[in-house]
Symmetry: C2
Subunit: 773 residues, 2 copies
């Protein structure tokens, strides 16, 4: 099936292209990437180098070059493989390609390239390259390079480790040593700031050819094997390549482990490794698949996004999900609030063990968040806007620059966007609601939520003349309006945090007194703090819908700003790439939003009346510029709540296309390169379907709510949910909702479908008609 | 005596120049201006027009042209007089001037010009022009134009009313009608927005010539008389010109009054009018003179500044003192905090009846301040940053523009610079302290201070975790740092306001219960408000000196900003005229100040220990750019407090030279024309000498404090003070302080000189040595 933007699919579980567009280097390199949460390897041909955005980004390698931002490292490229005929290198850039196909298997994360290429001297070669980043051993990337000719020719093949890497914020690697150990090529290098030792090892295996002579040549950074191959038309030859990557944050002797792994994996062999790898993927999809009947394109887009959500997530460790995953160094490979609000729900409800790891990461980074709070004059935990391994703030004070003056701009993402802390408390509670994993709350969650409450209590101001608490000088998710007061999302989420802190407190006080006392002692919390939180919870100002218009003001004074639509406003741009926000961007003094915080509030807190949701959707939607990739998916979800299925579907299509169809507007904003996979949009794909179209959430009484609102072009959707160790299979078509409770389930579950209350027992199947919105 | 910058003086009571510098049109036009607080007439030759910044700015004529800023009007120029020989106009611009002298008598506000000019045809004429803006009838400007020749020649003289005026923010006047009524030329015009009727009438009188034929010619805006005159060398002829200005905010029939005045004044005649005028000036100087023995230049500069403070002040009415007086339309002819903190002290201590009028103006404008507070979501009185007649906010939201992008900038002078309200409360208290005019407090002052306290109470936030009140999102006097918290000047002055509000409350509660109840009823204040103010007074955060360094932080986080000196910082300018402040000017993220708010706090509140004053002076002075004309005078005062007489004198010289020596850096900042007299610097001249070098203030126990610190080059200073209807004459030389209490005084006064307590009775003279700092 032909898709948009040069892409095709056969089954919905794959994408492929048959022509190469050099203008889309950045995008296609991201879209076709392989990865496993430990590393991301961009979907680039093996001939390319740093100049064409080749990258193998490895998790847990945060390092700052000189005075630059700390970011994940791009490690030496162990897959580098170049084929020469008569000293001309096979390439995509010239006109000599007769056949070309690049594809990505979304089910198993397998990249394939087929190419038929003719040299200037008229000699033709067919190659077929396959590679995957293993899920069974996340340190392994394996590649198969198959060569076939139609007449006898001699080729030269150079394959090895390319140590010249693309870096976004300065060179990280130095003191590189390349060596040959037995038949292994090994590169050892170190990061400049943190002195992380990184090892990239490579070993190969030839099939279909004997009697090979190998020349090694090397620089300090790179090391290659060179082969001169006499090829015959009657049989193809294949190079199997195993690359292993370890660094000293993984274990103490990465070099030894690299060599061990390489020797072992080569013995297992390419096909067996691939089988093991695929088995792990099968298990993931078993719980997290979403099936759409009736629209193959949408099915492909959904698979694409869920795939990218998986490979961006460090499922193997307690580490952050980067805002661009492991697709580029953009946003430093670090977590933002995206992680909790956009990436995590899919895990919470389908792979809670992964969600737990991510939340455990937030627990581990409490010291970083406490340090940040302290440095800014607060108490408790002010989580980093950009959170790497330690949770210390990685976001630079100066991010965007004023493109007109060239002057740096003090952005306040890191110190004014306080909702990040509440978002994490919110996710902890979501996890608890879905799992009833009280042990997690006792051991980790309570501490997170108490520390966030403590932080918020040290940030909030009391306005005595109005007898209410207020949050002042904020930046909400809508980043075009900095320095605002009582941002609706910030205040509501803070309120949620205090509520849950008090719920946890009460529960611990009754049944877990000792643990509570220990925790209070550890965190220096006392009864007065609890009273303070209770008072804030009672008196925190929550902007309410206007009685007549039902509108909620995004922040104090928003409705007084200039009312203009984004298209009209955009005419004021002097430079097309300039940032629209603080301090003097075109949107600052207007009602034009990067994303709509009132709608974002509806998306997370489900307890607003429908007429309020509708009025606010109608008001904010035309004023929203969607300058954030987070924005369309929120509109899709809230349009479902409002009963606007057509609008929901339109925003769904926009959100799922951001990367695959390169719908993101630009790589540059305010002078910053921002390319790579928009991981939050990938996570949001799950949200849009399950919490949007299926209308699923769990209410405070543990009811599973479904309010379906299916796009007309879809026959049905099917998916699974994990709720308190029970697995449900759900299918929704245009009329009916079918829920099957797995036989192995332990408990019965309460379900509400369009206000109808139902129960489902293990092994039971519910089939019910629902009322269309 | 030769002064700087092309100027001379003979007696210290005059300035004159003998050559004309066309590059300094704006400055000299301001410096040589005449005025009387009702009107200001720039010191320009009578031949000039709008293109050379001729202006006659009239008080109480606030009007907004189209959507532009409201400002005072420049009215038609009734002095316009042009002399022609052989159709060539006498001018200063060509090379034909043989003798030239422009002078200003600072004692009586009399402008003089002498010029000997030769036409291209070789004919020579001597002219001598004199003019003054009457203090006995503030609606009158009188001019004497004397012509003398050396051989018989024919000249043409055109004199009348020039209706084409220079406007800063759009054309205000329309529907002009010119007419001849009896022998009066009369221009009637109207302002576009407010429809103020303005009348400018002119009548003349010739001396030394008979048998004159007058031709009238006119446009709708202008009207002129033309004379052809045959002149003889043996005697000079003189044109006497009377101009009367009234408008419909003065009285209901300005036209009739203009005609009446003109007829009357012409009968009285030029010389008698001048005598009456001078008598009023004599009375003013009798109480407000400052005599400096030992430095004629400084004496001249002081006279110049006090003169300009007087003519900028609407002594005749309850109206504001403009930040540029009546010298240009810059700053809209409106009052800023300059009025209370810089202009008013001279009046409070030497002409309390004028101070009372200005403060009464603030009482009259309470409704405007209350409206502003309400519009911004506060209670009480938030005084306008830029206050015209009604006290509604005149300051535009967009003042400076970003010169690099050309984009307008939302400046927050009007909504974040809340200290303006406290400054007015402070001035009310100063007036009360100097006069003990309790009636004023009862009738006006209490209401002002209570309303300011109410405003501050609605602005302040309580930080429960720190158990203190804070002021958030401020702009202090240092305008390079907007959006700051707990600005030292703002917090201290707010604290002062609450203190005095409570003092007044207690005094009224004891002895004026009925008045208090009435006032409370009028202002909807109750006992709870009083308790609230008391709590704020107790718990308001006042940044205190660091124990070790003694430094006070100007606002939260100031010491963490980049530490750089202004000279170094200035190298970052892209455009020399760009504004250094908000939102992205070069000083914003640095410690470089426009003016030093900690020093400003010392200047108004005298109760800081000397070592604290010294440490902070030493720290802040090198970091201050003096981007405000208010800054040097504050440094001079605080240097006296610190015991740094040399530095004090250096800053004194800078402050008094701002206008006379054109020391102000530029007319343009951030794209705004800012020319004209820096009225605050004029008022500050009195402050620097009396509160700085003489070290005078009144403490809370009604003691008159003197801590002299005289510049070395001065033999002595003499001046008068009015304290509670007692007049004191003070002389301070390098060793002694002499105080004479007037015989007619009513009470004895307590005096402290260098901590020595003294009493002085009416008629007594104290002569005491003081300790040099």
């Amino acid at each position: 099936m032909k898709l948009k933007n040069n892409l095709h699919t056969q089954t919905g579980w794959d994408i492929y292209e048959t022509s190469f567009n050099p203008d889309q280097l950045v995008t296609t390199g991201s879209n076709f990437m392989i990865g496993n949460g430990y590393l991301g390897y961009r979907g680039t041909p093996s001939e390319w180098g740093a100049d064409k955005y080749v990258a193998c980004i490895v998790s847990d390698t945060y390092d700052a070059a000189q005075d630059n931002w700390r970011e994940l490292c791009n490690v030496p490229n162990g897959l580098s493989t170049k084929l020469f005929i008569d000293n001309q290198m096979l390439s995509l850039d010239d006109q000599n390609t007769e056949h070309y196909r690049r594809s990505l298997n979304l089910k198993y994360g397998i990249f394939e390239r087929e190419q038929t290429w003719k040299s200037k001297t008229g000699k033709k070669v067919h190659i077929k390259v396959e590679k995957f980043a293993s899920l069974s051993n996340v340190h392994l990337i394996a590649m198969k390079y198959e060569i076939r000719v139609e007449e006898p020719i001699t080729i030269k093949l150079i394959t090895g480790i390319d140590g010249i890497v693309w870096d976004l914020k300065g060179k990280h690697l130095h003191n590189s040593v390349s060596e040959v150990l037995r038949d292994i090529l090994l590169n050892t290098t170190y990061t400049k700031e943190q002195n992380i030792q990184i090892n990239v090892g490579e070993s190969i295996n030839w099939i279909g050819i004997d009697d090979l002579k190998e020349n090694i040549f090397q620089t300090s950074e790179s090391i290659y094997r060179e082969f001169i191959l006499e090829l015959n038309p009657n049989k193809s030859i294949t190079l199997e390549k195993y690359v292993i990557i370890y660094h000293s944050n993984d274990l103490s002797n990465p070099k030894e482990q690299t060599i061990n792994d390489l020797e072992q994996e080569r013995i297992i062999g390419y096909q067996s490794l691939k089988n093991e790898h695929q088995a792990v993927w099968d298990k993931l999809w078993e719980d997290s698949y979403i099936e759409i009947i009736g629209n193959l394109e949408d099915q492909t887009l959904v698979n694409f996004n869920l795939y990218h959500n998986f490979i961006a997530t460090p499922m193997h460790a307690e580490l952050p999900i980067g805002a661009r995953g492991l697709s580029t160094q953009v946003y430093q490979g670090a977590a933002f609030w995206d992680q909790e609000i956009f990436n995590l729900p899919m895990y919470i409800y389908t792979q809670p063990q992964i969600a737990k790891k991510i939340l455990k990461y937030r627990f581990n980074t409490l010291p970083g968040a406490q340090k940040k709070a302290q440095e800014l004059g607060y108490k408790g935990a002010f989580y980093a806007w950009t959170s790497g391994k330690t949770g210390e703030e990685l976001f630079p004070d100066y991010f965007f620059k004023d493109l007109i003056s060239g002057r740096k701009v003090r952005n306040h993402f890191n110190d004014w966007q306080i909702h990040i802390s509440s978002d994490i408390a919110y996710a902890v509670w979501q996890y608890y609601q879905a799992t009833h994993d009280w042990d997690f709350v006792l051991n980790y969650g309570a501490e997170i939520i108490f520390e966030v409450a403590k932080f918020l209590g040290s940030h909030v101001y009391f306005k005595k003349d109005k007898d209410r608490y207020e949050f002042i000088r904020l930046l909400g998710p809508d980043e075009y309006h900095e320095n605002v007061d009582n941002n609706v999302f910030t205040n509501y989420l803070a309120h949620f945090t205090f509520q849950k802190a008090l719920v946890i407190y009460v529960k611990m006080q009754v049944n877990y007194t000792m643990q509570l006392n220990n925790l209070f002692a550890k965190l220096s919390i006392n009864q007065k703090d609890i009273e303070y939180w209770r008072e804030i919870q009672e008196k925190l100002y929550l902007p309410k819908p206007d009685e007549k218009s039902k509108l909620i003001e995004q922040f104090d004074g928003y409705f007084k700003l200039e009312d203009i639509i984004p298209l009209e406003l955009s005419k004021r741009l002097i430079n097309p790439d300039e940032y629209w926000g603080w301090p003097n961007g075109i949107a600052v003094e207007t009602q034009v939003l990067k994303q709509a915080d009132v709608l974002q509030t509806f998306a997370v807190l489900k307890n607003f009346p429908k007429e309020v949701i509708q009025s606010n959707y109608d008001y904010y939607e035309p004023r929203t510029e969607h300058g954030s990739s987070l924005s369309p998916s929120v509109h899709a979800q809230v349009a479902c709540q409002a009963g606007y299925p057509d609008k929901a579907y339109q925003y769904f299509q926009e959100a799922v296309s951001i990367d695959m169809y390169n719908a993101s507007k630009k790589y540059l904003s305010g002078g910053s390169f921002l390319g790579g996979i928009h991981t939050a949009a990938c996570g949001a794909t799950w949200l849009m379907i399950i919490q949007g179209f299926a209308g699923f959430y769990i209410d405070n009484d543990d009811n599973l709510i479904f309010n379906p609102c299916l796009p007309i072009s879809w026959e049905s959707i099917s998916f699974c949910l994990q709720v308190r160790k029970n697995k449900l299979e759900i299918t929704i078509n245009q009329e009916k909702l079918i829920i099957i409770s797995n036989k192995e389930n332990k408990s019965y579950l309460k379900i509400i479908i369009n206000k109808e209350h139902l129960h489902i027992k293990p092994g039971e199947k519910i089939r019910t008609f629902y009322q269309k919105k």
